[in-house]
Symmetry: C2
Subunit: 210 residues, 2 copies
């Protein structure tokens, strides 16, 4: 398979979310035009995005909603369960631990890690807060697939290095800092400041760009 850009994978997620929405409302077929409108792109781009993964749809008939949904779920790795640990039991870690949307998508949060003795042992929405000193051992023993990092900027890289050494291959970071990982580890960053800066850029430059 060719190397797929992050932006392509994002669009696949958007297409799937749209297909699931309209599928739940009974739609059986859709078009690349519909998918394009929702994904903020063109129908040519939709066809190109999907063409990476084989041939879909029939000219003039569009795409079968159940078929394309199922294929996208397979491509995105959603046809199975993933074991997730949350590292950091602060405000964001706490909100994430209680976030019901994870389980719906097959993400099983099975441990939250922190160094605060006041938090270790607590039960949060069915998940126990565990001692961060056991993180490496648990990554091996519990075979976490994904670590969600919700710690302050200054602790982030050290924890990532520890987790990578223990074998973790996928990290979603909420830490407001640049983190580096080896090439065989996938890192995604949710950066609140960056999202807001996208808005302030638009608010500031709007007059000029139209």
């Amino acid at each position: 398979m060719k190397r797929i850009a992050e932006s392509t994978v994002r669009r696949l997620s958007i297409y799937l979310s749209f297909l699931e929405d309209i599928g739940a409302r009974g739609a059986l077929t859709t078009s690349s035009d519909d998918l394009a409108r929702l994904g903020g792109t063109t129908s040519a781009q939709v066809r190109k995005d999907l063409s990476f993964f084989g041939s879909f749809g029939k000219r003039g008939l569009g795409y079968s909603v159940p078929e394309l949904s199922s294929r996208l779920r397979e491509i995105l790795g959603l046809e199975r369960q993933w074991r997730v640990c949350i590292v950091g039991a602060g405000k964001i870690g706490s909100a994430l631990a209680r976030y019901a949307g994870f389980a719906e998508r097959g993400f099983m949060v099975s441990g939250v890690y922190d160094s605060d003795p006041g938090k270790i042992g607590k039960q949060w929405g069915g998940v126990t807060v565990l001692d961060i000193a056991d993180l490496e051992r648990d990554i091996v023993a519990r075979q976490y697939h994904i670590a969600v990092l919700a710690v302050p900027a200054e602790e982030a890289q050290v924890l990532v290095d520890r987790m990578v050494k223990a074998g973790i291959k996928a990290i979603l970071s909420f830490a407001p800092t640049q983190i580096t990982v080896p090439a065989d580890v996938t890192l995604r960053t949710v950066n609140m400041a960056m999202e807001l800066e996208g808005l302030t850029f638009a608010l500031t430059n709007r007059g000029a760009d139209r």
Copy 2:
């Protein structure tokens, strides 16, 4: 000014975050190679990104860290304060209301809105939970620049329509659904499922793409 792609704005944010990091550690100059490495791009792309906004740096001497930081802050609209409201006082809204990182970047959260009588009137990290029935009135009276949407999927579009009608021009959504806004409103979506799907895609297809 030419229409600037969202991906370019994201890279400007990454460059700025890097410049502030090395600036705080005393660095006075940097190169497009350094900026490229951190931004996950090429030095040609860095020069192209910056060229949209005028001429920076000197051939062979690189960029002045304080000058480029200051110019990027200006471009991104960070040289002023922005009034922010949070709509939805659930788990995510609560974590966001207490998030100290906002104020550091000039984002003043001055109201959290909810319909739950048990929450209205509560003080959260210096911010009061207000009645969502007053949202339109407050958008006008308090002149919020940015609304952060943290409500369930099924309430999202209706609330966005209300806010847009009242004059809001920038929305950051945490609601797990597709939302549509008019062309003069900027919408950014933080979608946890989508971030995780980027990771599971990589975990699933990794063998194949190398």
